[in-house]
Symmetry: none
Subunit: 347 residues, 3 copies
């Protein structure tokens, strides 16, 4: 009986559902909802549930800040007028991080059909409201079994390793994201489709604290990646997946963010775009030199019936473009192999 | 066992929860979330659940359109950074209407406190997607008891009567909402605080069909009422309640809406503002002469600690202003008496 | 008697007022509303009134599209929580253009004070809804006196001349707006503050037709100009004025706009920023080579009390920067002389 009560209270405190109708402004002109809109909703659910949890047994008031999103696949595009249901649950806690798992369902309320469109895993840390440079201890959740806790711990260790690695890689690679000399008029080259936008961080980007919410940044990253993809293949393009993203810097209200994207790799049916976020603390001098965020987005191109179209091959002109293309191919083959292994396991 | 299964399926199909963090743009400069933001979220939950229901057993594809909102009280103001949880449930169906009851909770995820802020009842009709002038039959819901159904039927009859009455009243009263000759420089007069705004109906105001969603209209109405109230008493004002609102006209994408408000009555601690919505089909000549929507909003004025301040008395200059003031007082006394009767019943 | 009736009907058909409360997202972190927010509201009033007028006696359904905005001064910055009242009136019609004059008032509804913040003049043409390449004839308005009409005709001829001139100048000047080689790390140079953003044109940018509304474009231009100004002087900056802007190309929904800005001139207390809009019709190959829109924005820098601060002088490194600086100084001196002449006339 007590166990049931615990489970019940857990489902109240440790889960949340965020839903809303998809509007024209959430979608491209073909009516497909931008991946960035979904990523922003996912992160909103994540920040709510983890801020709530971190304050549940703490005396020190704190807010959750996104540290990492695991690789996310977009299983099927959503359309205008459909309802997105984002449900989030806390699945693991370490001393200083919270793991949140999120499911996104698309519901066509006219036809009555529901389908899974995304699964995502997010990691948050909690910062003290009095001193935003202080990381606060996280209350532990109740696990259903020791195995469940042990699996969580493994996921925690794996992401920690990856975070450290990318941080070092970013610090070694302080060059500007976009090689401005290489703006090119020749179609299908890297220079032809590379794009960059600036965004002034406003109050609504920072509703819970004075820093940009991770979801806002991811939405801008997807926007740039989508423009790079559209410039390359001039068709209806949609987000297929996003590789793991690590957030290494807090970005304050009033900053100017520069988000840049360049194509790194094309396969027969997909394109990989690398996206960089750089922060310009307009009113102060810049502190560090590393990119605040980097990520790889994969896009596909769809015909009128939603079938994948072939992608024009990326024209490589320079040594470093060649290197990045090869690295992109490795990531592509690695993911493909992993997916086949999983499919076999399920048979 | 079957009963449980039914209840379970009912909770899936007939209920929904819409949640999100309140942002700076949702609130006034004192940080109190606008009543209009809440009304818009309430209506979004209502339109999702009723459109879903109307398509559940129908072969004819249809969308729900808001016909009426019952009187709604704002029990406590929400703040930026709090999470609004709007949960809606279908509680009655007639041949052509759906009743949706909605609860709004405010959650302070930092302090961990939750409180009820609103309860609302909405009525929808369903229009065919092929022919938007055709009203579609509504599938019946399952009632837990005959009493529950009978009580719903009474609510249905009562609102139907009120809808017919206000429709006639509106058609008799085709004068412009705001008497522009009476724009006055003298504080506390009707002419001093009367206000009007126009809004060009864009695509995102009409996500589910080609008509403005009722919630969008209510948000604009609350915005005008708030400006009238602030002009009158020059303090931090918040929505206390909205009288029943009937929607008599569909408003199409691309129309220009004029929303006008004037103060009708002041008590010691509250102000009543009448709001009119008129439609200008920019690209065509106007069709009817009746206002598309009218409603009475009640506002209170708060000091820094959230305590109600006295309201400067409305200065009456004209015969019709006097008549409206008396009608406003009647509504005020009627509501007060009703509330006291309810309070006594609960003792 | 007839004259009165005409004037009355004119004030109903030919004028409009758009009002709304300024929200946190409309302003910078110092709380000053962006000039672009005001420009967007001005254009929204203009497009409504001129579309309404063009359809009033026409059998052919049409929409108004912005062709030109005359030089606009920002007389005093607006703040969050104030109400912006934008009132627009049609003041001249030629065979194919409509002149709209707009006044913007800021009202502090708490203090009860109102002040004029902007005056603007806009020119629209009307395009057929069936065939957007067809310019539709404009119904003539009634003039109060022949003098009034004659003055309108002079304004019409003057703007026509300027439109033709800038079109030629733009076509001669097809180089990329931003010299990417010149991104510089040295403060106060042109390369240091130059900025550029991309924007994917969405449905809400095109509420009345399938082209971007002029106000949307102007808001983006002001956004880039503001970032250039903030990067240069790292203080609270506000828009002081915008030179005449001509719109030479329709920009369709789904296009990608690149908006670029570079500083051209600094005086003791002001900075001039040149802004370019280029269109990338993602799904088609580009047609022309001329910039879609260009404009000069003037910004000032304010201290905490709203007093103008000195501007760090622009460091000139290249021949063409020197030429642009001198042209900017000429514009600056010309405007200053004109303003002094006007001031003397008024004495």
């Amino acid at each position: 009986m007590e166990a049931v009560a615990k489970l019940y209270s857990r489902s109240i405190d440790c889960s949340i559902q965020v839903s809303r109708v998809m509007r024209p402004d959430d979608a491209n002109i073909a009516g497909n909802v931008h991946g960035g809109t979904i990523l922003k909703m996912i992160e909103e659910a994540g920040v709510i549930i983890s801020t709530r949890h971190c304050n549940s047994r703490n005396e020190e008031r704190c807010v959750a800040v996104l540290a990492r999103v695991e690789r996310t696949d977009f299983l099927s595009p959503m359309s205008i007028g459909e309802v997105a249901h984002v449900s989030a649950e806390i699945t693991y806690t370490s001393k200083h991080s919270v793991e949140v798992q999120v499911n996104v369902m698309a519901e066509n309320i006219i036809k009555g059909a529901k389908r899974l469109t995304n699964r995502a895993t997010l990691w948050y840390v909690a910062l003290s409201l009095e001193n935003v440079d202080k990381v606060v201890d996280i209350p532990s959740i109740q696990y259903i079994s020791p195995e469940q806790q042990e699996e969580g711990r493994k996921r925690y260790e794996a992401q920690k390793l990856d975070r450290i690695e990318t941080k070092q890689r970013n610090e070694d690679n302080i060059l500007p994201a976009i090689n401005v000399d290489r703006q090119s008029k020749e179609p299908f080259t890297v220079g032809y489709s590379q794009s960059s936008l600036i965004h002034l961080v406003g109050p609504s980007d920072c509703a819970l604290h004075k820093f940009v919410q991770g979801g806002v940044t991811m939405k801008l990253m997807d926007e740039v990646a989508g423009i790079v993809a559209a410039r390359h293949c001039k068709t209806n393009i949609v987000t297929a997946s996003v590789d793991a993203i690590n957030f290494h810097q807090k970005i304050e209200k009033g900053s100017v963010i520069t988000v840049s994207g360049r194509m790194t790799f094309t396969s027969n049916k997909s394109m990989e775009i690398e996206v960089f976020v750089d922060v310009d603390h307009v009113l102060e001098s810049p502190k560090g030199k590393a990119h605040a965020v980097t990520a790889f987005f994969t896009y596909v191109s769809l015909d009128k019936d939603g079938k994948a179209l072939p992608i024009p091959m990326l024209k490589i002109e320079m040594e470093d473009e060649k290197r990045r293309f090869d690295e992109g191919r490795n990531r592509y083959l690695h993911t493909k192999a992993k997916r086949m292994a999983q499919a076999q396991k399920c048979q």
